[in-house]
């Protein structure tokens, strides 16, 4: 018997039992619905995470640290007791291994690296904004020229260019905290960082010398440390974006100023010119992954943009896995539905099977007939479930985007044709497997016995 004939006969016998076919395939449709939605949500979250990362992390950037615990598993600082390391820096009681200027030079000298940007720690005791008498605290970080943010006011330099040394870029959200309504009016206003340098640990000779020349007042000044006020003018105000993380955190200064201020703050301390982390920008034709490996040979830990993506994707994949698990459970339930229906179908059609076998139909063709019926049920269920999920998802997408504040043009549910087609094919296979035993029963029927059944 030709396959097309078998498929057509299978389809016809299903049409002759419409209600039963529909109900059986609805069980599969529930599974298909769940699986399609979870596939779409997974794809949507991945695309969203992708967007999030590409608008925040330069894909040519490699994030380098000395202390593995900063990026790898385990608590920062690990267990309380650690081996002493002369290059480790204490941060609030935490001992973190830092990158020395030697390490930075090593990164810089890598032929594949275009540029290296250490993470300067500029800790201002407080910050004052023009037009406000209050004192604020905020992170102060280096402006990342590899990512261009949207601005609410002012202009940012072209991609790849640093901001001017006397400028800062502040996020729009800061203005509302300060109490400024019009972002445009704030361009050119001044922002002052009040920096306090930690006191050096003076040597005994120095103490004796200061005591001799300046008396106790001099000694007090030596112990109190040094303060410095640095003023900037606001160059641009960045807009809050749905996908940009950077815009919400900190005041951005140029690299040169960050380096200068960081040096001022740490001079004379063990942290001088040693950095918790650094970002290496890899040359255009170089592979960040290769740079990562080379740096790891030198005892540094590196992360590429891909690794960051991987981290986010791990979470997305885990959540998706859970939803898929529910879909699979629904499918398992539907498998028993198919087995049951097909067994009844075999019993109902004993005579028909007997006739077909008497007329010379091969047992395996009879089995095929029932397997194709199961496949049709799987196909129908898959199309119904996936179609419903697609339709509902497309309808609800704008609403979900609005509720979650994902930003214009970003959808949580992204339906792709190929995974859905593969899903339907997989459902057909599942149905065929479920139809195996009923089909075998049909194939083994004795035609004489079957024709005797009334």
């Amino acid at each position: 018997m030709k396959i097309t004939d078998t498929v057509r006969r299978a389809g016809r016998s299903l049409r002759n039992a419409k209600a039963r076919t529909l109900l059986t395939s609805l069980a599969i449709a529930v599974g298909a619905f769940t699986l399609t939605l979870s596939l779409a949500a997974g794809e949507g979250s991945r695309q969203y995470a992708d967007k999030l990362i590409s608008s925040n992390i330069n894909e040519k950037a490699v994030f380098v640290v000395k202390d593995k615990t900063l990026v790898g598993g385990g608590a920062v600082g690990g267990s309380g007791l650690k081996e002493y390391s002369p290059t480790a820096t204490q941060y609030g009681g935490l001992s973190i291994k830092t990158l020395s200027s030697k390490d930075i030079a090593r990164i810089k000298n890598n032929p594949k690296v275009d540029n290296v940007l250490p993470t300067y720690l500029v800790t201002a005791q407080y910050i004052t904004f023009e037009g406000s008498s209050k004192k604020f605290t905020s992170d102060v970080t280096v402006y990342d020229p590899s990512v261009l943010s949207d601005t609410a006011a002012g202009t940012l330099p072209a991609l790849g260019t640093q901001i001017k040394d006397d400028e800062v870029v502040i996020p729009e959200s800061y203005l509302s905290t300060i109490g400024v309504k019009d972002a445009k009016s704030y361009i050119g206003k001044s922002v002052t960082l009040h920096l306090v340098k930690a006191a050096e640990t003076p040597s005994e000779e120095k103490i004796a010398q200061v005591l001799a020349t300046q008396g106790t007042a001099g000694l007090q000044a030596l112990a109190a440390g040094e303060t410095r006020d640095v003023s900037f003018r606001v160059g641009a105000v960045t807009k809050a974006s749905a996908t940009s993380l950077a815009t919400s955190t900190g005041i951005f200064v140029s690299e040169a100023r960050a380096s200068e201020l960081s040096d001022f703050l740490t001079k004379g301390t063990p942290s001088y010119r040693s950095y918790v982390a650094a970002t290496a920008i890899v040359k255009k034709d170089a592979n960040p992954e290769a740079v990562k490996k080379e740096l790891q040979k030198h005892g540094m830990t590196a992360r590429t943009a891909k690794d960051m993506q991987g981290l986010l994707f791990t979470i997305v994949n885990l959540l998706q896995g859970i939803v898929i698990g529910f879909g699979v459970l629904a499918l398992i339930a539907s498998v028993f539905g198919i087995i049951n229906t097909q067994y009844i179908s075999v019993l109902e059609r004993t005579q028909q099977i007997g006739l077909m076998k008497a007329l010379g139909m091969r047992g395996k063709d009879v089995a095929k007939l029932f397997r194709y019926e199961a496949a049709w049920i799987g196909f129908l269920g898959g199309v119904l479930g996936s179609g419903a999920a697609w339709g509902l998802g497309t309808l609800l997408n704008p609403w979900i985007t609005k509720q979650l504040g994902l930003g214009e043009g970003t959808y949580l549910l992204v339906f792709q044709a190929i995974p859905i087609i593969l899903l339907i094919v997989a459902l057909m296979l599942v149905a065929v497997v479920a139809g195996y035993f009923p089909a075998r029963k049909a194939a083994k029927l004795d035609p004489i016995e079957a024709l005797r059944t009334e």
């Binding site: 018997m1 030709k2 004939d5 010379g360």
Partner: protein, 242 residues
């Protein structure tokens, strides 16, 4: 030519064994119409199953066209039935939910006839049983007589060499039954197809060229009505015992 040699078929085992066919031997010439007569339980249906390859007797030979079909493998037996045999049953066994054309198409599909070639054969078969105008109807909308004519069309559509009819008129009234009988005998004479009718109806049997009486699994008598129309029974029990 169909030749049976010492065919024995038993059901059950040891003490419960029941001999359905006991050393049956006879020969049927090509193109003959044969009635297998016997009471219910006499073994006539088993005989039909053995001759058509549906059943496998333990011993003996069933030689059709010089080939012992009992020696064939299942695959070859299926092929043999699909290409050389047509079946008609007492309770029709037409597929009620399917269209008349799909019912007739079944043997062609099983035999692997290409789709293009089927249409013509289906039309011809329905034409010869006078059902052409019902080609698009569902089989369940046909009357009893029409259903059996449909079964006849299904039996002849693939131009078989032998047609087995198991009580073909048993479920029909005499008028519709007569019409089906006429069609069967007409086809038998016109195309030289061997027609084997299993029946307990002596009137139907009387219309055949040959009668084989079965009793308790044994051939009681074989009458050749063609050669001896004057109703003289010729007991031809060939070879009793092994």
């Amino acid at each position: 030519m169909i030749e049976l040699k010492q065919v024995t078929k038993t059901y059950g085992k040891k003490q419960n064994a029941f001999t359905a066919l006991d050393n049956v031997s006879f020969t049927i010439p090509d193109g003959a119409s044969v009635a297998i007569l016997g009471k219910s339980g006499s073994g006539k249906s088993t005989l039909m199953h053995a001759m058509s390859g549906l059943d496998r007797p333990e011993t003996g030979e069933v030689i059709i066209d010089g080939e012992d079909i009992l020696k064939l493998k299942t695959k070859q037996i299926d092929k043999f039935r699909a290409h050389k045999i047509g079946f008609i049953f007492q309770s029709f066994f037409v597929q009620a939910n399917e269209m008349v054309s799909d019912n007739v198409s079944l043997p062609l599909e099983i035999a692997g006839v290409a789709r293009g070639a089927r249409k013509k054969k289906i039309m011809a078969a329905l034409e010869s049983v006078d059902l052409l105008e019902k080609i698009g109807s569902k089989a369940k909308n046909l009357s009893g007589g029409q259903k059996q004519r449909l079964a006849v069309a299904r039996a002849i559509v693939n131009t078989p060499q032998i047609i087995f009819a198991d009580e073909p008129t048993g479920n029909l009234d005499s008028v519709t039954g007569a019409k089906v009988e006429d069609m069967l005998f007409g086809y038998n004479k016109k195309n030289g197809v061997t027609l084997i009718i299993v029946t307990h109806d002596p009137d139907l049997a009387a219309k055949c060229d040959m009668q084989i009486n079965i009793k308790d699994g044994k051939v009681e008598s074989i009458r050749d009505l063609k050669k001896a129309p004057q109703n003289s029974p010729t007991k031809t029990r060939i070879k009793v015992g092994m």
